[in-house]
Amino acid sequence: MKPAIAPKEVYPELTVYRDPITPIEPLPLVVSEDVTPAIEVVNLTVRYGQVPGCEAIHFSAFPGERIAVIGPNGAGKSTLFKAMVGLLPMYSGSISVRGESCAASHFRVSYVPQHESVDWKFPANVWDVVMMSRTRHIGYFRTPHKIDRQAVRDALEKVEMWHLRHRQIGQLSGGQRRRVFIARALAQKAAVLLMDEPFAGVDASAEAEIMGVLDTLRELKVTIIVSTHNLGQAAHHYDKVLMMNRQQIAFGPTAEVFNAKNLSRTFGGFLTVWQDQSPYTVIADDSCHEC
């Protein structure tokens, strides 16, 4: 399949995107010398048998960018993530990580699963969980090397969990648990971090805590792609937004894309959006009572 936009033409166009026209809140802009996108998804379609999971998703993310993926339940956000990390086969399209084909560099993409899918009673402490991501680096028939221990230590210090390294994972708070998983991605030396609903079921302080850690990751040039239900947060804390409902509705800088038309197209009739001359957009959300 021919990519819709060739990478060389993409670059000047996307640099225009990087200057937000009317930012709701001024964001520290990442001026990246690195021209290669951290991850590039070209016309990705994933199907479960004949049922489409997500169709024709097309976007690219640069090092240090933070992208929100929003869409109603069942919009294929998790499907997209799983395909990006290589857990689901692609029906069509392609993914490249740092300009390389994904087959070689999938482990540069780290996936933080939804909170409920982890067994928190597992007999492992914080250190063990982070060390697990080094399994591939350590290799078969070997024990962790000094480099691996140093990587784990660095990662834990970045997310400020080093002092809790001996704690069993089930005895951590919600925010701390997510921080451990972020540390795991760091120890894995991942270029892209995919987080599936990291803010589901955490309180406001934990949310701020996780956001703080994500800010430090920006300095490390890690691209963060987060699926979220929290539209208010998506409007304020992310560089770009990907809206999807099976198909891609819109992708671009938050200020450009986050408007009434796109939102109502994404959420269908369930979401009512009022937007007039005032700078505020009023959104009434009926679609997900459980979140």
Partner: protein, 329 residues
């Protein structure tokens, strides 16, 4: 012995037991071991205790106790086939199979077949795994009983298969148990970090491009081997206790997987020793005695922890009341 037990209170019993232990050390500890058969049984029981503690930790951590129980029942047809053939004097002329207990090899074959059957049925999540396990388990067990029922005078042997016969451990059997134990333990040690990863987070294992299916089947095979090796000690129906109980006890004490394995191995072998002597001196079957020893260890640890929690909670409450109302306390 039983009469004496009935008339004594618990404290007296402990004192009396201790006295007996000190005074009649020879009678209590070493005399049973003078019989080669019993010594062999004890060695086999300790090995099986270590092995099932280590493998059982993985079973407990992955929540596979139903699978383990099912697998131990599914080996019955293999046992039945080899039983029929050995009665007919038609044992395959393979070194190792010929000399040793042929039932062991039948059990291993059936265990491997059921493992792959269950693994295959649950592969693409077309069936819930407990459903697939239930189907294979009940089907294979029924097949085994049907086969055994065609043999005349099977009752005694079936009891041995179901409840274990530790005294049937021959010198060749012991060698096989040692061999399998070494292989299984080495595999667990070598692939420890991979097993831990696929148990905790199979998604991460897949994204790291580890052969997760290979390790899953390898683990199922290790469980099957452990079950077959333990077959003679506790039998089919009590197998689960040997795998689950020491590991569960260890999981109450520690929260790291390798310590859990080491502790479970210690607890497993300790319950084998206790069960063995209890069985010898109190004249009960060895398998149940070992399982009861393991169960009571679990009970003690669980109670101790509950009490500790209660005490801690009590102290906490006391402090709270002191802080809010110092004069009252």
């Amino acid at each position: 012995m039983i009469n004496v037990l009935a008339t004594l209170s618990l404290w007296e019993l402990i004192q009396r037991g201790w006295d007996v232990l000190l005074r009649d050390y020879h009678w209590f500890i070493t005399k049973p071991l003078e019989i080669a058969l019993l010594q062999r049984s004890l060695e086999a029981a300790i090995l099986v205790g270590v092995l099932s503690g280590v493998v059982g930790s993985l079973v407990v951590v992955r929540g596979m106790s139903f699978f383990a129980d099912a697998l131990s029942h599914s080996i019955l047809p293999g046992v039945a086939i080899m039983y029929q053939r050995s009665r007919a004097g038609d044992v395959p002329d393979i070194p190792g199979v010929r000399d040793a207990n042929p039932l062991l090899w039948g059990a291993l074959g059936a265990g491997i077949v059921s493992t792959f059957l269950i693994g295959f049925l649950t592969r693409h999540e077309r069936l819930r795994s407990d459903t697939a396990i239930g189907i294979v388990f009940a089907g294979m067990f029924a097949l085994g009983i049907a086969m055994v029922s065609r043999v005349e005078s099977y009752a005694g042997d079936l009891t041995h298969i179901l409840f274990g016969q530790i005294l049937g451990v021959g010198p060749q059997d012991l060698n096989i148990i040692i061999g399998f134990s070494v292989v299984v333990l080495l595999t667990v040690i070598i692939f420890y970090k991979e097993f831990m990863l696929i148990s905790f987070d199979p998604l991460l294992a897949k994204t790291l491009r580890l052969p997760t299916e290979f390790f899953r089947y390898l683990l199922l095979l290790l469980i099957a081997t452990t079950i077959v090796v333990s077959l003679q000690i506790v039998g089919i129906s009590l197998m689960l206790a040997l795998l689950i109980t020491p590991a569960a006890t260890a999981s109450l004490i520690t929260h790291r997987l390798h310590w859990m394995m080491i502790l479970a191995a210690l607890i497993g072998s300790a319950s084998s020793v206790i069960g063995f002597y209890a069985s010898y001196h109190m004249d009960v079957a060895t398998g149940p005695a070992i399982v009861l020893a393991a169960t009571s260890m679990f009970g003690v640890v669980f109670l101790e922890q509950t009490l500790q929690n209660q005490v801690r909670r009590g102290i906490y409450r006391l402090r709270q009341t002191q802080e809010t109302n110092p004069t009252k306390a």
